[in-house]
């Protein structure tokens, strides 16, 4: 089974990000190719989530350039990322706890909706047809993630692993070309991790979605990603296919400490 990895779609050049005097990221460059699974790893505080937030437009780096499909990106806001078909999940689940799974995933379709607030409130004219269409897409996501049995359950009542899956569902509902996953497997048991891995691979395989993920579980990262970038104290210390990264001395040092 071989998949086609395409051209570079996201290119980050010499990114530096500071919060006051704290240097979160220092002179980092790497790129993401179409259809690949790209992992960002590193010890706690290495700057992984900051990196994701830079890609997503939440943080604006003081230095460096970002190229999206070959065009340099100006300062942008998170909602613009959504319009450019970049979707994400969060390290701490950020769902609407009181809403049902269905409604939560439906919110992922908001950027695709054309009718306005009033039309939706009255469920009138094009709003009705539009909703039916979006609902169909959402149902496809529900089917894909095998969560039919909790369709109408409020998210707050679900176990953690399922909530994570719902969050992935909401991101998928936006039909992203690039998916940013911030620790999708944190706090899961082995079985839930296996499920999540399978879904990530399936998303990548079936929809051709490019995936950038942050993950602590080395086994998972090395198994599913095509290329890995390693950060430590805001600096890039490794970049390449899993086998190369695994054997890099600097990476081993950062992870296991200098003594080993």
């Amino acid at each position: 089974m071989s998949k086609k990895i395409g051209d570079v779609i996201l290119d980050l050049q010499n990114i530096s990000l500071r919060f006051g005097g704290v240097k979160a990221l220092t002179d980092i460059s790497f790129n993401v190719k179409q259809h690949e699974i790209r992992a960002i790893i590193g010890p706690n505080g290495a700057g992984k989530s900051s990196m994701l937030n830079v890609i997503n437009g939440v943080y604006h780096p003081q230095e460096g350039k970002i190229f999206w499909h070959g065009n340099e990106r100006k300062k942008m806001e998170p909602h613009m990322a959504a319009q450019q078909n970049i979707a994400r999940t969060f390290q701490n689940i950020a769902l609407f706890k009181g809403m049902s799974v269905l409604d939560n995933i439906m919110t992922g379709r908001i950027t695709k909706m054309k009718s306005n607030f009033i039309e939706h409130a009255l469920w009138f004219g094009r709003a009705k047809n539009e909703e039916l269409e979006h609902r169909k897409k959402v149902e496809e996501v529900i089917d894909f993630l095998e969560i039919q049995h909790i369709r109408k359950t409020p998210v707050g009542r679900l176990p953690y692993g399922l909530q994570k899956r719902v969050e992935l569902g909401r991101a998928l509902a936006a039909e992203p070309t690039m998916l940013l996953l911030d620790e999708p497997m944190a706090g899961m048991n082995v079985e839930e991790k296996q499920d999540m891995c399978r879904f990530i691979l399936d998303v990548n395989d079936q929809f051709g979605t490019t995936i950038v993920l942050i993950e602590h579980d080395m086994g998972v990262v090395m198994d599913i990603s095509d290329r890995v970038v390693v950060l430590d104290y805001g600096k890039k210390i490794g970049d390449g296919v899993p086998d190369v990264v695994k054997n890099s001395e600097e990476v081993i040092k950062a992870y296991l400490g200098a003594g080993h």
């Binding site: 089917d143 049995h149 369709r151 395989d205």
Partner: protein, 655 residues
């Protein structure tokens, strides 16, 4: 009402394909099947189903499926899989449904035994199982799958999408328009229509060959007794390989012409049940039990007023509900009280359970606790029992309306003759008997005696009204060392009615006392423990808690106290018991796929525990190997406490 099968005439409706095409012609637009897909119920009319079956049958034929071939069917209840059954029958082939949750190695035996060349499976999971055992199945030629999801990278040429098969069939049908009609014409009521494998409580599974005639007769009898109509709905969610599902969801649906509804997935059955609101519902006792358990758990979490209301009206229902349903005389006050209860408790409860529209609900497969049975009937649900086995199309005894006895399985169904052998074994004769065991003439000869009676292997007796009462499996009924009868099932079923107890295995044959293994119901006991602030880390830990052991001891003693009134079984009081550290599981071969205890296997596997029970030890260490769902193996160990239960002096000894 259904058309009567006319076995005499050539063009009569005496095979399932003929029944189907007749529905497709005469009731073209009536709904035949529904399936929930992407959150919406999709409906196929009888005409749609007829067209698809035609396409599938022609497609199968184009692939080389011939008269006399067996077609394995593996998957959850899906419309296409049911259609495949009829498609195979059109060509004079025999569908062989398999239990879909079995692992590949377990399926291998049946696939080899039935000489399978063609397999129809539901999805990728089952395709993978077929690929796993393909090496050992040189005869396997084609695998057809229903759900294309995840199948994009499978390039093997013997794998076919069911939609491609249909397309192939439609082309074939266009080129040979008379072909299929001729094939269907050749079908005879005495042809084998389906092969169902026995679950194999003892030894290897055996393929039971049933004819069109047998299943149609059984279906017609049931339809007659229960006045089933064509506007009914049934939810089919039980394994297709099980005789009950084949009778209800396939044979009766085709005979009576009602609609079958396939749930979205195994996890959504409860929701789908509420949405469909079937008129005709079938579930094994364990499903009714877990429904009741979940209702009770939720009631205990409800507010004080609701709880009081619930218990008050439950008492009313217990007093008079079943009598009202049977049309027996009940006082005016109780009637009014019951009507009020119906409005505010029973009605809403039936609705929550998805049983508002139910005309008849059935249970079988194992004995049902009388209290449980009474509970559902008193709520106004016409729950009945029937009795039968794979070899008799699950059709021997039915409980007719108005003549329900809680402890009997009913009267012989239309066309069935029953006789009790000298050793107490139930013998039956009728049109629904098996034709043979596949390729096992000696087993066939052994199971049917010289007078043409099938030997069921169950011990029972007919009471004064001609109702059959089943005591136990004939071979399980033993004797205690003092000569008293020991019917383990009888006692186990009594204990299993407690919501905290899931499974029990009793021992006592040729021993001086009865001892038992108990499995707790982790849902109910877990909830119970939570509300008492008892913390636990997992199943084994919970099962070993002294409070839990005390709880189970109370249950056992209650049963002991009840047993003394029944002279037949008074000696079978449970003296000592233990609570097992793991749940008995079909994956560990301790239960059959239909969740019956494999008594001998359990006795052998846990021999040290039995020895400890009878040697008077206070505790025993045990380590057991377990198989996880993903096929890995692991070990669980525990030091089990053995509890002495209070026994009661027998009130009156049999003369």
């Amino acid at each position: 009402m259904p058309d009567q099968a006319n076995f005499g005439s050539v063009d009569g409706l005496h095979t399932f394909p003929r029944l189907l095409f007749n529905h497709a012609k005469t009731r073209a637009n009536a709904p035949a099947m529904r399936e929930k897909h992407l959150g919406i119920w999709q409906t196929w009319s009888w005409a749609d189903v007829g067209e698809r079956v035609r396409a599938l049958a022609c497609g199968l034929s184009a692939l080389g499926f011939k008269r006399g071939d067996n077609l394995a069917i593996i998957g959850d209840n899906r419309p296409h899989l049911y259609m495949m059954m009829t498609a195979a029958q059109c060509l004079g082939g025999v569908p062989v449904p398999l239990y879909q949750d079995a692992v590949a190695s377990e399926m291998l035996f049946v696939l080899q035994d039935a000489g399978i060349r063609f397999v129809v499976v539901e999805d990728q999971e089952q395709v993978d199982k077929m690929l796993e055992v393909r090496e050992q199945l040189p005869g396997l030629e084609h695998v057809i799958y229903d759900d294309p999801r995840g199948m994009r990278h499978y390039t093997q040429t013997f794998l076919h999408d069911i939609h491609e098969l249909m397309e192939m069939g439609r082309i074939h049908d266009r080129n040979h328009p008379d072909f299929l009609n001729q094939e269907v014409e050749q079908g005879h009521f005495d042809d084998v229509s389906v092969m169902l494998y026995t679950s194999g409580t003892t030894g290897k599974p055996k393929g039971v060959c049933q004819t069109h005639g047998a299943f149609i007769a059984a279906a017609q009898g049931g339809v007659e007794v229960d006045h089933m109509a064509a506007d009914g709905d049934i939810l089919c969610y039980l394994p297709m390989a099980w005789v009950g599902d084949h009778l209800f969801s396939y044979a009766q649906a085709l005979v009576a012409g009602f609609t079958i509804n396939c749930p979205e997935s195994g996890d959504t059955v409860m929701t789908d049940l509420r949405e469909i609101g079937p008129t005709y519902y079938f579930a094994p006792p364990r499903v009714f039990e877990s429904l009741l358990t979940s209702v009770m758990i939720r009631m205990e979490d409800a507010g004080a007023i609701k709880r009081k209301l619930f218990h008050y009206f439950m008492d009313v229902a217990k007093r008079c509900g079943a009598e009202i349903l049977d049309g027996k005389p009940v006082s005016m006050g109780d009637r009014l009280n019951y009507a009020l209860g119906n409005l505010i408790v029973y009605g809403p409860l039936r609705n929550v359970l998805g049983l508002s529209r139910v005309r008849v609900a059935y249970t079988a497969g194992a004995a049902i606790g009388p209290e449980l049975f009474r509970f559902y009937r008193s709520m106004g649900i016409n729950l009945k029992q029937f009795y039968g086995q794979t070899e008799t199309c699950a059709y021997v005894c039915l409980q007719p309306d108005g003549a329900i006895k809680f402890d009997s399985v009913g009267q012989p169904a239309p066309g069935v003759e029953i006789k009790i052998a000298d050793n107490g074994e139930v013998l039956v004769k009728g049109p629904m008997l098996l034709k043979e065991y596949y390729k096992r003439p000696e087993d066939t000869a052994e199971s049917i005696n010289a007078d043409g009676y099938f030997m069921t292997g169950d011990a029972g007796f007919l009471d004064e009204d001609g109702h059959l009462k089943i005591i136990d499996r004939a071979k399980d009924v033993g004797k205690l060392s003092n000569g008293a009868m020991f019917a383990p099932n009888y006692i186990e079923n009594k204990l299993k009615f407690f919501q905290h107890i899931k499974e029990v295995v009793c021992f006592g044959h040729q021993r001086d006392m009865v001892c038992a293994f108990v499995n707790i119901d982790v849902g109910a006991v877990g909830n119970w423990a939570e509300r008492r602030g008892i913390s636990y880390s997992g199943y084994a830990d919970l099962a070993g808690k002294p409070e839990v052991l005390e709880l189970i001891r109370e249950c056992v003693e209650q049963i002991n106290a009840g047993l003394i009134h029944d002279t037949m079984v008074a000696d079978s009081q449970i003296h000592r018991f233990l609570v097992l550290h793991k749940e008995l599981d079909p994956d560990d071969d301790e239960l059959t796929r239909t969740r019956k205890v494999r008594r001998n296997f359990v006795a052998e596997k846990y021999k040290v525990l039995i020895d400890a029970l009878y040697s008077g030890k206070a505790n025993q260490f045990i380590e057991t190997e377990v198989k996880f769902e993903d096929g890995r193996r692991g070990k669980v160990s525990a030091d089990l406490k053995i509890i002495d239960a209070k026994t009661f002096p027998i009130v009156k000894k049999a003369a």
